[in-house]
Amino acid sequence: MRPQGPGTGAKVSSIVITLGIVSMLTDISSESVSAILPLYITGVIGLSTIAYGFLDGIYQGISAFVRIAAGWASDRGGQPKWVAFFGYGLSAIARVGLLFASGFAALTAVITVDRLGKGIRTAPRDALISASSDAGNLGRSFGTHRMLDTVGAALGPLLAFVILFLIPDGYSTVFVVSLAFALLGVALLGIVVPNIRPAERPAETQPAETQPAAPRFRWKQLTDPRLRRLLVAAGLLGLFTIGDGFIYLLLQTRGAFATQWFPLLYVGTNLTFLALAIPFGRLADRVGRARIFVVGHLALLAAYVVAALPVNGAPLTIACLLLLGVFYAATDGILAALASQFTPPEARATGIAAAQTVVALSRLVASTTFGLLWFLYGSQAAVIGVAVALAIVIPVVAVLLRGPARVRDDA
């Protein structure tokens, strides 16, 4: 069943940890800005427009397309590090733009560039993580990376609010500090992380910039039936994965506790995510990644049920946040690990990008549909409907993924 005894034997590579720190620095940078952006937009720029929300769907579409393109470019050129570097760099440049952006159009442009950067870097970076890990500890490696990443997501807003607490109008200070973290991340990636070609065939590996015309990537390398099944499974589950935002809104309509802490509910989710990312990754290496992926969606189902309960109060709100955290810990890194497992090394970034894109697009459909149901039938009926649908899909997916969970990893 398992290629090399307990998957916990192999240590997490220092490259994975470095990539985790790069992500942490970048997340401190981006989340510190996202946390205060609403305050900044309404308080300083003086916009009350909500047109912003409408553009969001378009950005998500662009981001999904860019993600696949970046994965493909990374595989084809054999330069995952530099494609990821370009993505991180683009987001850092967007931070410079923030310092000068005044007005809605400028701000929108800056955020678009930031999102593009995020779309570009994700798949090549995950391919690097995968290439620097043993097949037996992929779950643990991705877990470690996601843990560090989430530490950044938790620290960023905290840092931003501390700055605003000390300097109430210190938005420019937040932007400068954010830029500093982004630059640190880019520098660390550029200087320290080696460009590991996922196609580990030293005999054929030439510096790719001298011969980009000798790609090893073929689209038909993505025809592994296990990858296809994963894409179908992830897409099916994604169709019933509504954004956390909706769950928070649901909790908020339920009671004063959730309203008062509304801006901070995600912190509860993030803390659980970061605490559990490594344990779940290790567990996934041991008992099967597909299995943990399915278990994660059971936690999501439980979160829906808790959110739909007609009672309110702090304990239920907290339970819901914990369940959401479990969901992320058991699915986010695991998905990348599963996609790596089912993709040959030379097509890995594209394979990971494909899985992440399927998830992103299906979740976009889920959130749009859910929003519609929310207003047609009310929030409670809508969430119960989604919970029932998810309860039906989970066993189907469990069967669909059962084969791959038992198949040995390619090494």
Binding site: E31, S34, A35, L37, P38, L39, T42, G43, V44, G46, L47, S48, T49, I50, A51, G53, F54, D56, F104, A105, I111, L158, F161, L164, F165, L166, I167, D169, G170, S172, T173, V176, V177, A180, L183, L184, A187, L188, I191, V192, G243, G245, Y248, Q252, T253, A256, T259, Q260, W261, F262, P263, L264, L265, Y266, T368, G371, L372, W374, F375, L376
Partner: protein, 338 residues
């Protein structure tokens, strides 16, 4: 590059970046401290708080009174302002009550709405889901409307949406007007991106006007609290404000629809349907307050200073250019009696 020189390069970059950010941050903190220590940059009255007809507002003059609620006599807006201890982001008041929306700053930042009695004592408060946007009391002081942004943690989460709640202080009930039945030209709008904000109340304590949006279009709506309905009466008007005589609405009108809004104030006659766009060069993003039946007030950011505003006055019939009414102030509320 050797391993060692890589680390040297990285350390050098890190030192440079961290130093630059720290120097900037400390500089900003120092200049904020200096501003705080400075006496208020406008004349401040001392003595008992103001009673009688007055304009209350959020004081935005830099100095130790920044962000506090202040008042000037209605007949002498240029007089030194009487500053209270109350800190609010948005404020509205009648002779009986004051409603204050505020950001409770901290490492954990939260938001709340508080109602105070005429004597300044605390009556009730409740949490808001995000940044305060608009608030209005009905003329009888019975109804309170609050609009706050519902801010998710990231710009991906839910996008921007608003929550507008009308609270009946006598009945002790509150209603989220987004749940009301909303119709445009007789057709019900159920789209999930609906949003409502900027309430103004009529004298009957049941009828109100507000803004509704869906699919990138914006409507002025007339609401009925008892029937829980919203009916669109005009497209392209935001943040209405009913004149004291109840005959006209002043609102923001986007003169240049597109991503970059350019809002002017327009006055709409409810009986005739005539609309007059008032003169003014700067884009206005505020809910207008009527000084009297002939003049409207609104806040505008000062171009030269971040976070500072002036309250402007302009004739409601469009016959004169706007003039500064109260310097370094925003969120005006006219208390006509008491």
């Amino acid at each position: 590059m050797t391993g060692r020189s890589r680390w040297w390069l990285l350390s050098a970059i890190a030192a440079l970046v961290v130093t630059a950010a720290t120097v900037f941050g400390v500089g900003e903190w120092r200049s904020y401290q200096a501003l705080q220590a400075a006496p208020s940059s406008v004349d401040v009255a001392t003595g008992p708080s103001l009673s009688g007809p007055r304009v209350i507002f959020r004081n935005t003059a830099v100095g130790d009174d920044y962000g506090r609620v202040a008042a000037v006599p209605l007949d002498d807006p240029g007089a030194p302002r009487a500053v209270s201890d109350l800190e609010c982001d948005r404020v509205d008041a009648t002779s009986e009550r004051t409603v204050c929306l505020r950001t409770v700053r901290g490492v954990i930042t939260t938001f709340e709405a508080t109602v105070y009695r005429a004597d300044g004592t605390h009556e009730s408060s409740w949490p808001l889901p995000g940044i305060p946007s608009r608030t209005r009391l009905s003329e009888s002081s019975r109804l309170v409307a609050t609009t706050a942004f519902v801010t998710g943690h990231s710009y991906v989460a839910v996008g921007f949406s608003t929550e507008t709640v009308v609270t009946d202080t006598v009945a002790g009930t509150s209603a989220n007007i987004q749940e009301f039945e909303f119709t445009v030209d007789g057709r019900r709008v159920t789209s999930p991106d609906r949003n409502m904000w900027g309430v103004t109340f009529a004298a009957d304590d049941n009828t109100f006007f507000a803004t509704a949006t869906s699919g990138g279009r914006t409507w002025l709506v007339e609401g009925d609290l008892a029937a829980r309905t919203l009916v669109a009466i005009k497209e392209g008007a935001e943040c209405p404000s009913l004149s004291p005589d109840g005959s006209r609405l002043a609102y923001k009108k986007d003169l240049d629809p597109g991503a970059d809004a350019r809002w002017a104030i327009a006055v709409f006659d409810l009986a005739t349907g005539d609309e007059i766009v008032l003169p003014g060069d700067q884009s206005i993003d505020d809910q207008v307050e009527w000084l009297d039946d002939g003049t409207v007030l609104y806040g505008l950011p000062r171009i030269d200073a971040v976070g500072d505003n002036d309250i402007w006055a302009v004739a409601a019939n469009g016959t004169s250019d706007p003039v500064v009414f109260i310097e370094r102030a925003m969120s005006p509320a006219v208390v006509r009696e008491g």
